[in-house]
Every structure is written in structure tokens, then in C-alpha cells.
Symmetry: C3
Subunit: 347 residues, 3 copies
């Protein structure tokens, strides 16, 4: 593909109002995409600036997506590299990848070994892989793609164009919106961990509620999302969940959140919109997290978090305070030495 064709395709809605500046003369043929480091003389790469800027002087790429930075533009031009500049290099690189690569997806086809209940309804252009199992009264929208060995329990609804990767399990009555992606091995709609103490040990509380995924939700491999005893567990529009995450019964997560790998939410956690939870964060029962809040990796949230607050640590505290404390923390032995001396002086 000619570099000019790629740049034309960038006239994208995602960056409306952004003017692209491209080098007017160079228009090489681009065969694929790569990182700055591993680029070859026929690949496109990108640079976000900062510590990666120096790589522009070394990369073997034939074309680059650059930030709006005259120095880098000149450097690229001097090296005979075609370039386009944008305030969003990473975003454009994501689009460039899509021009060359699409993840594997089987063509619409019902594999003869799939076990589909007679009461299930299928939309148009559906793909159902080998040995997939579709339960009674399941409703599957148009263009849905179900990979092999998936199990869908009765009463589930799956919106148009949603993908269910291999061996994932969608349990009873779960509702999945349109354009969702459920990765391999994920379990959606399983029973919440509901037990009540009694004199005779744990008694099970059945989980009569459901899980609802709104449109464009993505759920990572081997992640688990529980249904509650009553009502819903709900994941909002365009929220992205990484691998091995646990979402407890009755949680409500807003739209455009990102939950990194191994995050765990207990029961009935309320998460606003645009919240970021970094890897291995844990959140206690019924905690509320405000819009735009961020919890850094491994933090443990026992109390509500205000909108836009950044928290860290366990128990989680404001990130700025945590950074201050972390700096002093290493001096604890020294501090103790002084204090002990003082204690001895005072008798």
C-alpha cells in the first residue's frame, strides 16, 4: 500500500479536527507495520516522542507516524523516511495496524458438530464453531461469531457482531450487547459467592440475578463475572476488562473503564465512568469509585474513592501522599534508631 493511501485513510472520525501534516515528497510502498526497534525497510512504525525520540535516528522503518515535533520531522526527512505528524501517534498507529492485519475470525458457518438447542434463535451470517453448545431459548444476533468448544447456557442473549472466543462459558440468562468480545476461557454469569453462616455451617444463597454486558464491552481470557442473588451485575458501554479479573455479584461498572489483569472486585462495588484500575487492584464490598478515578497497581480499596482521585497503597490513600510515604518508608530503621535513643535519654 502506498504511504499516501494510508494517510488518506487516517482522515478519521476519531481525531476529528486534527490536521495531519505529511512529508510532501516521500511516498514509499509500505508492506506492513512494526515497532521502531524491529522495523525493516518496508514497514511503518510510530513514535510518541519522549524517550523514544532517539529511535527515530536509528529505526529502519520506511515510514513513521510522528508527534507534532519539527525536530523529529526534520530528522525523519533527512533520513529519507516518509512521515505524517499528529497529536495522536499511537491512535493512528492502531488504525494503521487495522489496514494490514485483522485478527482471525471464521467465516459465517454453522459447524455440523455444534450442539444447538431447537429453541435457540440465530441471526443472519452467524458463525458457530465445532463442538460449541447453545442452550434452550438462546437468542443470537446477526454476525455473531462463536468459536469452538464454547458453552452457552439457556436463556442467554447475544447482540449483533459479538465474538465469543474458544471455550468461554456464558451462563444462564446473561445478556451481552452488540460488538462485544469475550476472550477464551472467560466465564460470564456464574453464581456469585453467596453463602450465609448458620449453626450448621455455610448455607447457599441461590443467585437469581443476571449479568448484563452493555455494547462494545471486552472481557479478557479466563476472567470471571458473577451473577448476583437479586438484580444485575452490569458492565457499562465500551468498558474493557483484561485477563484473570474477578467481578463479584452485583457490581455496577460504568462506561469506558479499563480494568487491568488480576483486578478483583468483591460484591456490589459501584464503579463510575472512565475509571482505571491497574493490575492486581482489589476492591472491598460495596465500595464506590467516582468517575475518572485511578487506582494504581496492587492497591487495595476499602473506602469510597472520589471522582478523578488517584489512589495507591493498601489500604489505599491519595497517590501523592503514598509517594511521599514510600520515599520516607525506607528510612524507617533510621527513624527508629533516633527515636529509640530519645526514649533511652528520657528514661
Amino acid at each position: 500500500m502506498k504511504f499516501s493511501e494510508i494517510v488518506e485513510k487516517f482522515a478519521t472520525e476519531l481525531v476529528r479536527g486534527t490536521s495531519l501534516t505529511a512529508h510532501p515528497d516521500f511516498n514509499p510502498q509500505v508492506a506492513g507495520f512494526a515497532s521502531l526497534e524491529s522495523a525493516t525497510p518496508n514497514t511503518l512504525s510510530y513514535c510518541e516522542g519522549g524517550k523514544y525520540a532517539a529511535m527515530v535516528g536509528k529505526t529502519a522503518a520506511i515510514a513513521l507516524i510522528l508527534p507534532v515535533n519539527e525536530e523529529l520531522q526534520t530528522l525523519a526527512s533527512d533520513r529519507g523516511i516518509a512521515w505524517v505528524s499528529t497529536p495522536h501517534p499511537r491512535l493512528l498507529f492502531a488504525e494503521a495496524i487495522s489496514l494490514f492485519y485483522q485478527p482471525y475470525q471464521p467465516a459465517p458457518h454453522i459447524h455440523p458438530t455444534a450442539a444447538i438447542a431447537s429453541s435457540a434463535s440465530l441471526g443472519r451470517d452467524v458463525s458457530i464453531g465445532a463442538h460449541a453448545v447453545i442452550g434452550e431459548n438462546v437468542k443470537i444476533g446477526d454476525g455473531v461469531c462463536i468459536f469452538p468448544n464454547v458453552t452457552v447456557y439457556p436463556g442467554v442473549e447475544i447482540g449483533d457482531r459479538t465474538l465469543l472466543h474458544a471455550n468461554c462459558i456464558i451462563e444462564e440468562r446473561t445478556k451481552i450487547g452488540t460488538d462485544c468480545v469475550i476472550h477464551s476461557g472467560a466465564v460470564i454469569g456464574c453464581e456469585g459467592f453467596g453463602f450465609v453462616r448458620s449453626d450448621r455451617g455455610w448455607v447457599k444463597m441461590h443467585q437469581g440475578g443476571i449479568v448484563v454486558l452493555e455494547d462494545r464491552v471486552e472481557v479478557g481470557a479466563n476472567t470471571t463475572i458473577d451473577r448476583p442473588p437479586v438484580g444485575e451485575t452490569r458492565i457499562g458501554y465500551n468498558t474493557k476488562i483484561d485477563n484473570l479479573v474477578q467481578i463479584g455479584h452485583g457490581c455496577k461498572i460504568g462506561s469506558n473503564c479499563a480494568l487491568s489483569s488480576q483486578v478483583g472486585l468483591s460484591g456490589q462495588v459501584i464503579v463510575g465512568n472512565g475509571v482505571l484500575l491497574a493490575g492486581q487492584v482489589g476492591v472491598a464490598n460495596q465500595v464506590k469509585i467516582g468517575d475518572g478515578a485511578i487506582a494504581t497497581a496492587k492497591s487495595g480499596l476499602h473506602k469510597d474513592v472520589d471522582p478523578k482521585q488517584i489512589v495507591s497503597g493498601y489500604p489505599a490513600i491519595p497517590n501523592k501522599l503514598w509517594l511521599k510515604i514510600s520515599a520516607v518508608y525506607n528510612r524507617l530503621p533510621e527513624i527508629y534508631k533516633v527515636v529509640r535513643k530519645k526514649m533511652k535519654q528520657d528514661g
Copy 2:
């Protein structure tokens, strides 16, 4: 169902010796169950008191399970809500749910696509779902329900009425008791992480032991329980394990424990009866945890824990001390300031 019928069914063994008090006049028709917040005028709900008490004045529920609390009884009566009082509202609500809702379970039936070894023995009224695979010499008790895409390795024993949810994997020679529930994607009896260092790198130690689950054990979705090189990994009677938990080789867990999501036990951990491990707790090799002990969320246990002790933190310490320290922790920068001044004064 009439409210009076529900209350009669509460004459349960679980709360023997507990006298229920019910409003004598109101006896509405109840169509289902809901939380206080989302109740509609034909649903039953429950209140445990405390911060939820105020909801009794607002809920749309037609009937309530209340704590023994005259004020709440009067408030409900005044609002025309039928009620029953008990010291265990949550326990009775669990029973009420069971009157209206049972989780999906297929009727006894062997799906024609299930691959069952000829040497496997099946009890009466067994259900085996589509594409399930049952290995040689597997013994399956009466009323067992195996969902689709489950894999059972050779030599496994499964007790009466146990449920294996979709796509779970039971590896060689595992013994599962009666009335257990194994949730989707769980892996029971896989090889422990047994490697020995040598001059030539890691050498595998084969894991010749087995995993034993006693009766009424529940294992969460995508949880993994390893078999040891020798002897057993054992989970005691009525112990409940949440999703994404790791149980290492040779652990012995007592009865009526609850292990929350993402807990990790290393090898040969010994856990007593009635122990609670909250979310993301980690326990080091060979640690012993006494009966009735509690570890709060995210704590890391490197040393033995006495019976009934509550521990927190990493490394875990008594919870009361940890709370005290957590309160002071935030003042570390302030403390350091004072100490540094003192150090300067002292030269």
C-alpha cells in the same frame, strides 16, 4: 405463593430454636424476591437492620424478613407491609430465594455427543452434557450432573448429586464427594508446580498424589487445585472456594472454610476449620492456620496463625495492630520531619 406459606416453610432446621414472629393480619400474594432498593409491589425482600433500616420506610416490597426489632416491625406494619422477624434475616432470605428460583440444571440425560469410556460407571439419573468427555474407569454417582464440554480424566470418582459446570476439568484420580459444585472452567487435580533445581536447570518432579474434595465442597469458576507429588491435597466438608483461587500441592483445608476470590495458597498449607481468607490473600509454603482464624483482604501470611486470630497486612500481623499502624502510617512524612530535625540538632 401466599406469604403465610413462605413463613411456614421457614420452620427450618437451620434456625432450630428460633421463634419467628409474623404480622398476624397481612398475608399478601408474593410473586418473587428482590433487594429492598429494587423491590416491586409484589416482591419479598429482607433487611438486616443497621444502615439498611432506613430503607424499610421506602421500599416498595409487599413483604419483608426483618430482624427482631420492634421499631422496624411497627414501621413495616404502618406501611402495610407483611413481615416476619428472625435473628437471621439473611439466612431466611436465602431460603425464600430457593422457593422461587433454582439455578438451571438439565434433566437426567446422556447427550449422544458425550464421549464416555466403556469402562466408566454411571449411577442412576445422571446428566451428561454435549461434548463432555469421561475417561476410563471413572465412577459417577447417582444424580450427578455434568455440563457440556467438561473433561474428566481416567480414574476420577464423583459422588452423588455433584454438579460439574461447563468446561471444567477434573484430572486423573481426583476424588470428589457428594453434593459438591464445581464451577465452569475450574481445574481440579492438575499437576502441582514441582520442579527441582539442578546444574542443568529445572527438573520435573512428577505429581503422583491426588486431590480429594470432601462432601458439599464448592469450587469457583477458573479456580485451580493441584495434586501433590505424594499423598493428597484435601478440601474439607462444606468448604466454599470462590473464583480464580489457587490451591497448591499438598494443602489440607478443614471444613466450613470460605476462601474468597484470587486467594493463593502455596504448597502444603494447613488450614483448620471455619477459617476465612478474604480476597487476594496469599499464604506461603507450609504455613498453618488455626481453626476460626481470619485473614483480611490482600494480606500475605508467612508465619503460622493461631486459632481465632484475625490477621492483616503483608507480612501479616494481628489485625488490631495493623489498624493502629495504618492510622499512623499516613503520618510517616511528618514523623520523619521531626526526626530529621532532631538528628540535625544532635549533629
Copy 3:
């Protein structure tokens, strides 16, 4: 098997240059293997010395693998126990187990229910279990064993003698070396968590790279290893990964590492050779960990770690400092008391 036969088989390459000393007279028949504690009068056990030494005086074992320790040799002889001494008792015990026990592996056979694409190529002596699904252009080496309900996406390559346990998923274009073991439910080669912020929320960055496992890699049950947008995620020779581990997109892990359960690596983490990461360790994006480094359980690594360094804590610091701090940490309330008094004195 006669004890002398077992000892002869220990003339192993793994301990070349190590001389074994065995009791010359006792040569009992050995029927199996057990721990010191649970041994019976026809089993072999082993002792590493230290706190286990006392067990040599009590064990019912008929034969023992001992450390080079005259006292223990005499004690065993006095009790009529056959023994062999070596500097590596655990390593030899691993070999002894292999003489009596091999994990279950089906004989070479293609199950008639397996769904194998016509363009897939299979080596000699391959085993493919019931309901396994093998995609287009997959290349499977000699002696490969694929358990039931496994899904292999198109374009995957699997080296000789590699085992794929039940219900694991190998996604598009993954390359797996020879003699690897992938445990049940693991997901290899799934899409990395690649999203770019835009004014319209998260935009997906497709993951066009691949995952490469070198020879002799072992991947635990329900572990997930992501493919990157460009290039490779690579796991080095003989590296062992436990259950429920997350390896993010673009990580490069060296040879002979061990990653314990529930470890999480973010994107583009670089791990050297012979690195140990204990349970629940988390590593931030792009962190580099030097050869032979160790991170103790639950630590959180935000910065690079030097070769052979041992780190602990969150954020991780040198282990020795962390131990010092942990000792003082419990005295924080006491320290604060002194400091507060001082502050009052100073006004």
C-alpha cells in the same frame, strides 16, 4: 523393584560427578514412594535434613534417599532402613518417582470426534482427544499429545512431544517448542490488552504479533499469555510458569525462570535467565529484571531489578532492607507516640 536397581538408575546425568554412597547390605523390595510421614514398610522416601532429620528416626519407610550426613546414615542403618546418600536428595527423589509413576497420557490415537482442518499437518504418533479442534494450517510435531476439548486456532505450530492438557486454547499463529507442557484451561496467544484513549473512548489496537514458547516450557492451568500488537511475546527455554499467571503483550522471559502462581506481568516486561518470581508478584510495564534475580511473594516491581538482586515489598526494595523495615514497622505506633510528645515539647 529392588532398591539396588533404583540406585543404579540414579547414575544420572543430572548429578554427574556426584558419588552416591549406599548401604551395602540392605537391599529390600520397594513397591512405591511416599513422604517420610506417610511412608509404609514397602515405600521409598527422602530426607533433605534440617527440620526433617528427626523424621528419619520415626518413618516407616523401607528405603531412604539421604543427604551426605553420617549421623543420618547410622540412624537409618540402625533402624534397618536401606539408604543412599547424595548431595541432592530431592533431585534423586524426583527421579525415583518417575520410576514408579508417570502422569496419565493417552496412547497415540486420533479420536473420531476431533475436528481437524484438512490443511493441518500431523506428525507421527500423535494423540488427539475427543472433541479437540485443530484449525487450518496448524503444524503438529511427532509424539504430540492433545487432550480432549482443546482448541487450536489456525496457523499454530506445536513442537515434538509437547502436551496440551484438556480445554486449553492456543490462539492464532502461536509457536510452541518441543517437550512443552500446557496445562488445562491455559490460554496462549490471546489478544493483548491494547486500547488507545480517544475523545470517543477506548479504541482497540489489534494485536498482530505472536507468542513464542521455546523448548521445555511449562505453562500452568488457567494461565494466560498475550500476544503483542507487533513482534513477539517470548518465553525462554525450560522456563516454568505456574497456574493463574498473566503474561502481558510483548514480554520477553529468559530461560530457566520460575514464575509462581498468580504472578502478573504487564506489557513489555523483560525478564533475564534463572529469575524467580514468587506468588502474586506484580511487575509494571517495561520493567527489566536481571539474570538470577528473585522477587519474594506479593512484591510489586515498578523499577528495574539488578541481576541476582532479591527484592520484596510494594514498591519493591532490596529484601534485606525490607526485612529490617518490616521488623521496625510494627513499632510505628510507639514511634509516633515519642515523636508526638517531642512535637508538643517543641510547641
